[in-house]
Every structure is written in C-alpha cells, then in structure tokens.
C-alpha cells in the first residue's frame, strides 16, 4: 500500500513539477549499506534540484508570475 500512497503524493506534486522530490525505497533493517546509498543519492539529488520553488510564489507579485508564464 505504501507504494500507492507515495504514488498518490508524487502524482499530486507532479502538477507543480515536484514529483522528483519524493522517493520511495524498501530497505530492511539488515541493509545498512543500501540505506546509506539511497539516502546519500537522494540527498544529492535534492541538493541539485535546489530549494523548493513554491514559497517564492506566495510572496511574488502576480505580475512577475504572469511575466514568467509568458
């Protein structure tokens, strides 16, 4: 079921192009190495994606937004 919930979230965030910021992996308690690999890779990915673009919209004037859309 977890995969469904996460897909739900990814789909919804996909409207804003943010789906890549959610990642799901199955790692058992015995798989420390895999945990490190997955978390490190995801951290790197998030860093390369940069900060969440959404808060800017809350503060940005609408005109700027409209300009961006053109």
């Amino acid at each position: 079921m977890t995969i469904k919930r996460i897909t739900f979230l990814q789909e919804l965030l996909g409207l804003f192009g943010l789906q890549e910021r959610v990642h799901l992996a199955w790692i058992s308690s015995a798989e420390a190495q895999k945990f490190v690999e997955v978390v490190t890779a995801f951290t790197e990915k998030i860093k390369s994606l940069g900060p969440n673009p959404l808060p800017a919209y809350r503060d940005a004037p609408r005109a700027a937004l409209a300009a961006a859309a053109h």
Binding site: T7, F8, A69
Partner: protein, 273 residues
C-alpha cells in the same frame, strides 16, 4: 412530477421534499412540507443547482429518522452515494425524483448545459488554467509551466471557504482547512498551495465532480480539474470509483481495509503495482 411529490408528502412517504421553488422568478432551494403542500405547485426544474443533499445531511444529523425526498440529478445521486458510504445518510431514508444532468468524466454523454464551456478570458488562458480544459491537457504541462499556471490560480484565492461550504460531500464537524497547524487560519493570502492541496487530498474518493465549488469560487480557480486529478489517482491506484455505489467502504488513503493477515505467500516479481 408535482403530483408524485404531493402524494409522497400527503401519504407520509417522506417528511420533507427538497427541490427548488420559483420565488420572484428566481429558483430558490426549498424545503416542501405537508403543511404547505400548495408550494409544490411552484416547484421548478431548471439548470439552477444547489447541494440539496447537504441540507439533507444537516436534517438527518438533527433527526436521524427523518425521511427525505429530493430532486436529484446524476451528480446529486453520486453525492448521495458518497454520503451513504460515509454514513451521513441512510439509503432507506432518501427517495429521489430524477432530473437531467451534467457532463462529467464520471457521467459521459449527459445533456446538462450548465457546465458548458463559457467565458474564459484570453489572459487566464495564457497564464492560468482554462477551467474547461480536459485533465489530460493540464497534466501535459511541463513542470515549470504547470507550476506557474497552478500557482497563478491559487494566488488569486481569497480564502472565502466557498468551495468547502457549498460542497455536498463536505460534512466533517471539524474541517482541516480551519486547522491552524495545517494551513494557518489567519493571513490572506492563504498558505498556497497547501490550502488547496489539503482540500484536494480530502476530496480523493469523495468529490463527485458536480462543479459547485468552481461555480461558487469568486476567483474562478479551476477546482474541478484539481479534484478530478485526485479522483483519477483514487481510481488508477486504488481502483476506487467515487460515488458509483453506496455499498463500497469509505475511501482511505491507507488503502483497502487494513488487515494484519499475512497475504498468501506469493513470489513477488518487481514492484507491486
């Protein structure tokens, strides 16, 4: 139809009948009763819509045994199904008179003209989202464009709660949109897009695509498309078809009924779909 309703009221088949009455040439949502049975003569069926089932829900909350008659389009019926599923009304306490209905992905080939594409300005089409697009078209926007367009729409929100207040399937006593920890109740503009996404998540498996929210929205935010999106997910991922039956369990993002039973051992190949 009027005779039918009158006889129901007279014979006590229903205690009240919810429909529309023409008052000063305006169709007004009306509760017809046996005491004022002559008002049934003014009953009117028009494109005008209101969430009559929401009124029914409030009535049933006050008087659980009340029997309610209702003028119902297909969307009203879907809403009723949802309310049965969520235990807010009982099917045996509701009878309906059917009226023609609106087009929706949940009900193709319908003939209601109410939600026909109307007037969407060129500016909104250019920078925002045309409310009458199909969901696929909206999904096709690139990440940046989608984000810009949706956020343009959400930025307009004045947090009037009209979408929630009109919604026929919003019945919670405490609403998450009033929850300070989740959305921040004070400031305008609302916390975007959280405000809209919280509502969207709660609409998954509940929204019956009647479009009343969009109708009520003074800022013309394409809410139907947003809720169509979550319902599409509910259908694709959870195989849940909102409003199609009153017998199904309430939709839960936790999935099907949660059990602790181990599933039969089955070799798993690849990820679970």
């Amino acid at each position: 139809m009027k005779e039918q309703i009158k006889s129901w009221l007279e014979q006590g088949t229903v205690d009240v009948f919810l429909g529309y009455r023409e008052v000063d040439h305006h169709p007004i949502p009306w509760c017809f009763t046996q005491e004022a049975i002559e008002e049934v003569d003014d009953l009117v069926v028009s494109p005008a819509r209101y969430s009559l089932e929401k009124i029914a829900t409030h009535m049933a909350a006050e008087d659980p045994d009340i029997r309610i008659g209702m003028l119902a389009r297909d969307c009203n019926n879907r809403a009723l199904n949802v309310l049965y599923v969520w235990n807010q009304l009982r099917p045996e306490q509701v009878v309906t008179v059917e009226a023609n209905c609106c087009p929706s992905p949940l009900k193709e080939h319908a003939d209601c003209s109410y939600l026909e594409p109307g007037t969407v300005g060129a500016y909104k089409k250019a920078v925002g989202i045309d409310n009458h697009l199909r969901l696929e078209a909206v999904e096709a926007y690139g990440p940046e464009e989608g984000r810009n367009r949706w956020m343009y729409e959400f930025q307009k929100c004045i947090k009037c709660y009209g979408c929630r207040n009109i919604c026929p399937v919003c019945f919670c006593r405490e609403c998450s949109l009033d929850h300070d920890d989740l959305v921040g109740t004070g400031p305008l503009l609302p916390d975007i897009p959280i405000f809209h996404l919280v509502r969207a998540v709660h609409m998954a498996g509940r929204c019956i695509d009647c479009g009343l929210c969009e109708d009520a929205c003074p800022m013309d935010i394409p809410l139907r498309l947003l809720y169509q999106k979550v319902n599409r997910i509910a259908m694709d991922l959870f195989d849940y078809r909102t409003g199609t039956s009153g017998d199904q369990p309430p939709f839960s993002i936790l999935g099907d009924r949660v059990t602790l039973e181990p599933k039969p051992i089955q070799p798993v190949t690849g990820a679970e779909a």
